[in-house]
Symmetry: C2
Subunit: 482 residues, 2 copies
């Protein structure tokens, strides 16, 4: 079937189709050291309470609250890890450190700042003055106040971050059932495509940018990756590469190139013969020839029922590959790995410059999001709008201050004048991978004539961590009074 024979669908349709053919992978058991970033396939409950004993919140003295203020003998010590069985009787106190068990008999802790050491008494008996009477329960964490025995501390389907690793350790969950992460093979195609190490290039050659990039993208998504090299533009060689990927038992094969080869698209006929093509053209810029197929395969040696392999045929232009990976492949990899909400997160951002619209296809415009005042290089028209809005007291457009405190070094009162700005990465032609340099979001730019003006609010899909986004000059102000 020629490319034009495939119905042109929208990206949301393509995403729905891909996810409807994607199943979360099964579970595997990992230890605490291997759990970061994985999705739990089981609920985790606490086998015991935390704290397991009434614990002091302060360094100070464990007292009987009813004794009130006064001078007392210090009859013992409770230090973390050294359980003092000596009860604290009325009229006496025990020294205690933060986190240590409150001795039997005591029902409050008085912090050391509210006490005064006294000279030792008869027979070397330590003594202390309690300056402030305590209320019962004061500065004590009761048993189970952080976690109660039997509580669910993490749900199945929850992703394990840094804090969750600590939570798992706290409740003794050192062996966890988590979703398997997908195995992903990456194959470039094209007679003109040569290894990146090739220098100088021969006539007509270009270096393979896509394979290293897609391997990195899949690895970053947590996948185990398999480098399948470059397929030549012959049906036989391509078929051999597909067979090799099947042999390796991967869950996903990502190819790039070969899907907009005019009269010699070798990918689609091969996928049609061996599986089912679900779509072969998508109304998007860049990435129109994006192709998706599933192959139903016999079980691997020793395995149970049949298995499925997803094949994503990405266009050869590196930007198209980059955009299509994030829009359709990444959500599929996330779903396989157990993510309940595998789609890209969407936020609103304000355009820093005018963007010329494409009248034929909606565009995924690469940009760098940053938080702050209008970034340097914002359109002059925007600056005028900001000034105008500032006059009208619009908090979204309040002007940047003449000067303000450094971030974290004083009070700031300008939070309301800061927002998320989308800075274009420049010329968006699909061959220019520099348009993805430093990009942390894809703007959803409508298909229309004319220009989308600087200052417009647009939706943006997050494709990279904003924890590394550009910092505006002067920084972002802090909460007033902080």
């Amino acid at each position: 079937m020629a490319a034009a024979a495939y119905k042109m669908i929208s990206i949301p349709e393509a995403q729905d189709i891909v996810l409807s053919h994607t199943r979360p992978l099964g579970a595997v058991t990992v230890g605490l050291a291997g759990v970061l970033g994985r999705v739990l396939a089981e609920e985790v409950r606490a086998p015991d309470s935390l704290p397991p004993f009434p614990a002091s919140i302060k360094d100070g003295y464990a007292v009987v609250a009813a004794d009130g203020a006064g001078e007392f003998p210090v009859v013992g010590e409770s230090r973390a890890g050294h359980l003092d069985q000596l009860p604290v009787a009325p009229g006496s106190v025990a020294y205690i450190t933060t986190g240590a068990p409150v001795p039997p008999g005591a029902d409050a802790v008085v912090q050391v700042e509210d006490t005064e050491k006294l000279p030792d008494g008869e027979g070397g008996q330590r003594r202390v003055r309690i300056c402030k009477a305590a209320k019962a329960g004061q500065d004590i964490r009761p048993v189970g106040s952080d976690i109660m025995e039997g509580d669910t501390v993490l749900q199945a389907g929850e992703r394990v971050g840094v804090a969750e690793v600590g939570i798992l350790a706290t409740v003794g969950a050192v062996s966890l059932r988590v979703h398997t992460t997908p195995r992903v093979a990456v194959l470039s195609t094209g007679d003109e495509v040569v290894d990146p190490a090739t220098s100088p290039l021969g006539p007509g050659q270009i270096r393979d940018a896509n394979r290293a990039m897609l391997l990195a993208a899949a690895a970053k998504a947590g996948a185990e990756v398999v480098d399948m090299g470059v397929a030549r533009d012959t049906a036989g060689h391509l078929e051999g590469c597909l067979a090799a990927a099947i042999d390796k038992g991967v869950d996903v094969l990502i190819t790039s190139g070969g899907v907009s080869m005019g009269d010699r698209d070798l990918i689609k006929p091969l996928l049609e013969r061996q599986g089912t093509i679900h779509f072969g053209r998508v109304r998007m810029k860049p990435g129109k020839p994006l192709t998706f197929a599933t192959l139903e395969l016999p079980p691997q040696q020793g395995g149970g029922g049949g298995r499925q392999m997803l094949v994503f045929g990405l266009p050869g232009n590196p930007v198209s590959s980059f955009v299509c990976f994030h829009l359709v492949v990444l959500p599929a990899l996330r779903k396989m790995g157990g993510w309940a909400e595998p789609g890209l997160r969407r936020v609103a951002a304000r355009l820093a410059v005018d963007i010329r619209l494409d009248p034929e296809r909606p565009e995924y415009h690469r940009c760098t999001l940053q938080w702050g005042p209008p970034p340097p290089g914002s359109a002059p028209a925007l600056k005028a709008a900001v000034a105008e809005a500032a006059a009208a007291q619009d908090p979204l457009h309040a002007p940047p201050p003449p000067s303000h405190a450094m971030p974290g070094h004083g009070a700031g009162e300008l939070l309301a004048s800061q927002e998320l700005w989308a800075v274009s990465t420049g010329n968006q032609i699909s061959s220019r991978l520099l348009s993805a340099r430093s990009a942390n979001a894809l703007l959803e730019i409508p298909c229309a004539a004319g220009v989308l003006k600087a200052g417009s609010l647009v939706s943006a899909l997050l494709i990279d961590d904003l924890g590394g986004m550009p910092v505006p000059a002067g920084g972002v102000p802090v909460t007033p009074g902080f």
Copy 2:
């Protein structure tokens, strides 16, 4: 020196002190497969132009533009990887595929959609009708239009993401000088602290949450990690553990516990003997006993001059450890790894609920940021404010719509009504690690009496990727018309 003898400083002061003692580590050479996430220690230039030849943007016919529309013999083909030397003379055309070199003589490409295949002519000569006259240069990428030979494609100091891997491959940069990532040792302390696998717990015991958590945090930051186990609460054992960390040649030692042990803080005296303590108390909640020291060490065997080890003494409460790691350790690890802007990124977010202020210390309140309308569970007072502001047409507070299009499944016009919301993780006591569960930011909450009202704008420091933040019911609307 007793803990109280250390001057209480602010967190920005602490951050400045830490970074002033932190140096970017030297450079090391890595291959393309190991470069993701690293910071370049050298500028990368293109050794040749991209495209290296005039390349077609479309599938179609390479023509002489001056020939205009009409019927022409197809004298050859240019396919990617197969350089056709046959020149295209006036009055003839050549078939060409996307990305293929434009043959000599041709100066424009006419896309196949603007052509019509004709019956073969005399002697089987292929023929085509060019329906639309082309302008010179049409649908051709000139040599160097994406990257010009000698261009700097990536700067020293730039972090390598997915796109940058592709850019490096494109220019043949397969061996890169990048900053070394730090080696980080993690040590827990405390006689009460037992391995997470311990079940049931003995009297007075608690499981070690911090070590697994801090190892995960350092690994996530790109560090090579070394697990140093648990030090007992004796000066001798602790000193042995420090010596072991020094022996392993790590750049950083992170300890947790032992710095708020009342009269038995063993960490500070040890660090005072072996190095320099730069601070031992910080005005923050949680994390007040945070301690930072540097040790000047003799060179390792075979090494050059002396070396330095940073030691971070984090408090034992797991939340304090978590917060202190992100506020002071993470920026240091980033700076060592070459980040030019190593601090946490700051954004503004609107509080979903009232937060009670602490009158003694500014607080780093754990929260989950999400983009959208006010999240479920927002304070009733906020809902009233939203309704009121909506009446006043404040775009920051426009009400959520009765219903709107699903994300990506139609037009949305509600972008301006959505913003970043901070949902508290609940009870913030420093022993309760569940308050860090799903947290992706630390709110900067001022030190004051009373309550910070829901709907207030507060500054928030990003500590996790927003790419996994919660998705509001109904999603976030898209750019109008997309």
